[in-house]
């Protein structure tokens, strides 16, 4: 099974479409949308309805902190994120906000767990950025492989036999084996707002027979996505950062 994992789409239609096209070309048979469909970007309605269509065809959808905030209060957001969130709430229908609010926090499939942020406490929306945070996340679950997003910077952590953790920055297009019986935690990059210095949209392909995960990077029409952010009157910084991938 070839599973495409798309996280942190953040209402960026251009990036989302580019990733879906690339995933189809790579023969993806199943889709997991790992949270944060909305927030920051200017196309929440389009992204959400596309995600709903995909869900109807069997895609797994996970709740992210921005999805939750769209339906509820937004605690602890930066000023720019909060401004974008107020706008997002105003353009979504109540039914759409309810849909986001009811997304599951996590989904387990075979020996894998899909979750937006830290698996040990999904509702706290903690970041998994280093070996210590990865240990906390992995130790909070029994899944062999945890796949999460939220950070917008791809990383793969391996938990070794002597309980040491290895952090590895995956190279785009190079498959990384998630060997059995070793435990792994993969932080996939962001579709709609990459922050690792590479502005190309990131999605990941999980191949279950080979047990490999490959990060793919896809160029997309950043100018169009940024122009829409500006046209919607959202903070300029949210448009500008897309060009830098920061």
């Amino acid at each position: 099974m070839r599973i495409a994992i798309l996280s942190d789409i953040h209402a960026n239609r251009e990036a989302f479409e580019a990733c879906l096209t690339d995933a189809a070309r790579q023969g993806a048979q199943r889709f997991v949308l790992l949270g944060d469909l909305v927030g920051y970007g200017a196309d929440p309605g389009w992204v959400l309805s596309r995600a709903q269509e995909m869900a109807a065809q069997g895609a797994v959808l996970i709740r992210g902190n921005h999805d939750e905030a769209a339906a509820d209060v937004h605690n602890g957001m930066t000023a720019n994120a909060a401004a974008a969130m107020d706008w997002t709430r105003s353009v979504l229908t109540e039914a759409e906000r309810d849909f986001l609010h009811l997304l599951p926090m996590e989904v387990a499939e075979e020996d894998r767990l899909y979750v937006h942020a830290d698996a040990s406490a999904p509702t706290r929306w903690l970041y998994v950025r280093d070996a210590e945070e990865a240990r906390r996340s992995l130790e909070g679950t029994t899944a062999r492989v945890v796949i999460s997003g939220h950070v917008h910077v791809p990383a793969i952590f391996g938990l070794t036999a002597s309980a040491q953790l290895v952090i590895f920055r995956p190279v785009a297009e190079a498959p990384v084996p998630l060997t059995r019986p070793r435990r792994w935690l993969a932080v996939v990059g962001s579709v709609g707002q990459p922050r690792d210095g590479n502005p190309a949209a990131a999605w990941s392909l999980l191949e279950t027979e080979a047990q490999t995960l490959t990060i793919h990077r896809v160029p997309y029409d950043i100018d169009a996505a940024a122009a829409k952010i500006r046209a919607a009157g959202l903070p300029e910084a949210l448009a500008a950062r897309l060009h830098h991938g920061l």
């Binding site: 391996g158 036999a161 190279v171 060997t179």
Partner: protein
């Protein structure tokens, strides 16, 4: 986990276990057969019993990740691997030849043989480095001879792949590797330096040339660290018959700072294949170990202690230190094309501080007189061409050691340049193209043939024809 007890006749996933070939510290090697594979095969099985070194498992997993990603004649061909749920194993081609262990036991070997074995090993390492892998356990037992002129590297259990998570790096504080050959930075825990393999190969060449290892076989970390400041006796002190060029090559490999070693295994192979072109420095003439004061300064003075950067990376090193061939038609060297060629080369060199240039000229043979022995006139012609090549290159102001000069004698210049590029692992060929001429029409285009057939980049320098602009 249910484990099969392996014995002759056991069948695992279609592989029938044969003879036990080798019992190593971390794994066992069995001869195996499979109805679908005519190739002779071996199965590597990790030692997993209670109390065994946990490194054996991780090392085995690393090899299971790395071997399937490797290709080419310098590694054993990967066939199959099995997971840890039943019986972990790795099946690969059984390389026909012996390892260099018998050679190391017979050491000291004649210098020519040392260079030949070293060049083959360096060429295999170059192939590995180009596939993003640092071997980190280069030693006679891990180098097999496939045939008379090609070596195979085996055992990737300690290797580092720049595009894979490095389980060995984080799990074990103690450096793993083979004490007699391990590079100083590897002793300090750095695993991403391709030139660590150049050091290990240098230690092996030292051993093959002198009959002893440069640093003994220390077993404790403190003793291992001694190689950061203690210089081994120069090979020529132990073996006066060791030529200066070989000592130069060996001691350059054994430099403590990776930046002072050969930048790539390909450049090391180049020197071992062309002993007469090795640029001799103080290393070549050294006949004694450094004095007590120098050694103590290296040991204790903070300014004299080596510093190792974290990530040179196997690939970055090769990209910055290519071997570039420039084919020069010396009959037209000060013409417009000769100058344009030099200027192009100058621009290429400006961005590549580690690049090394081989300046070629092809002396055409007449097919009919091919077997005639060179008369005195022919000899002079050869020397004259060399002098002209040096004259052409002089304005580039390259230090000795970065540029070498070669006059090839051949019937077909293009074939000679292509052969040279293949044998010497050349990364880039720069040559000029004549504008349309009677000569080109008659002889065909050398640059065209080289560009079409070359195993590497080709830059063709051409003067714009003023009539066509």
């Amino acid at each position: 986990m249910a484990r099969t007890r392996l014995a002759e006749g056991t069948v695992i996933d279609g592989f029938t276990i044969g003879r036990l070939l080798h019992t190593g510290g971390m794994a066992l090697l069995w001869q195996v057969t499979h109805p679908d594979h005519a190739l002779p095969l071996v199965m590597k099985v990790p030692r997993l019993a209670e109390g065994e070194d946990p490194a054996a498992i991780v090392s085995f997993e690393m090899e299971q990740m790395i071997l399937p990603r490797l290709s080419g004649p310098h590694v054993p061909r990967f066939v199959a691997s099995g997971g840890f749920d039943v019986q972990p194993y790795l099946v690969m081609e059984r390389v026909p030849g012996a390892s260099l262990l018998p050679d190391s036991e017979a050491a000291p070997l004649p210098p020519g043989r040392v260079a030949e074995l070293g060049a083959m090993a360096a060429e295999a390492l170059d192939s590995l480095h180009r596939q993003h892998v640092v071997h980190l356990d280069v030693k006679p037992a891990n180098i097999l001879l496939r045939d008379a002129d090609s070596a195979v590297l085996v055992d990737f259990g300690l290797s580092h792949h720049t595009e894979l998570p490095d389980l060995m790096g984080e799990e074990f504080r103690l450096p793993y590797g083979s004490a007699p050959y391990m590079a100083p930075e590897q002793v300090m825990g750095i695993r991403s330096e391709a030139r660590s393999d150049v050091f290990a190969l240098g230690a092996m060449l030292y051993m093959l040339a002198t009959g002893r290892t440069p640093f003994g076989d220390p077993q404790r970390i403190g003793a291992l660290r001694k190689r950061l400041w203690w210089d081994p006796p120069p090979p020529r002190e132990l073996r006066p018959e060791c030529p200066e060029w070989l000592q130069e090559v060996i001691l350059r490999c054994l430099e403590v700072q990776p930046e002072r070693r050969y930048p790539t295994a390909a450049q090391l192979a180049f020197d071992l294949r062309h002993p007469d072109q090795v640029a001799l420095t103080a290393r070549a003439r050294k006949l004694r170990r450094d004095g007590w004061a120098t050694t103590m300064r290296r040991r204790f003075h903070p300014d004299h202690q080596p510093r190792f950067g974290r990530s040179a990376g196997a690939v970055a090193g090769i990209a910055g230190a290519p071997i570039i061939v420039v084919a020069v038609d010396v009959t037209d060297q000060e013409g417009a094309l000769g100058r344009a060629l030099r200027s192009t080369l100058h621009n290429i060199l400006a961005t590549l501080p580690g690049a090394r240039i081989a300046c070629l000229n092809v002396l055409r043979h007449n097919l009919i007189s091919l077997d005639s022995t060179l008369d005195s006139q022919g000899q002079n012609k050869h020397v004259q061409r060399l002098v002209e090549l040096q004259h052409w290159a002089a304005p580039l102001k390259l230090p000795e050691g970065r540029i070498t000069f070669h006059v090839l004698e051949a019937v077909s210049p293009a074939a000679a340049i292509l052969d040279y590029a293949r044998l010497n692992r050349v990364d880039h060929i720069v040559l000029g193209a004549r504008t349309a001429s009677f000569k080109r029409k008659m002889l065909g285009s050398v640059s065209g043939e080289v560009a079409a057939e070359a195993p590497c980049n080709v830059t063709v320098v051409r003067i714009r024809d003023q009539a066509e602009t």
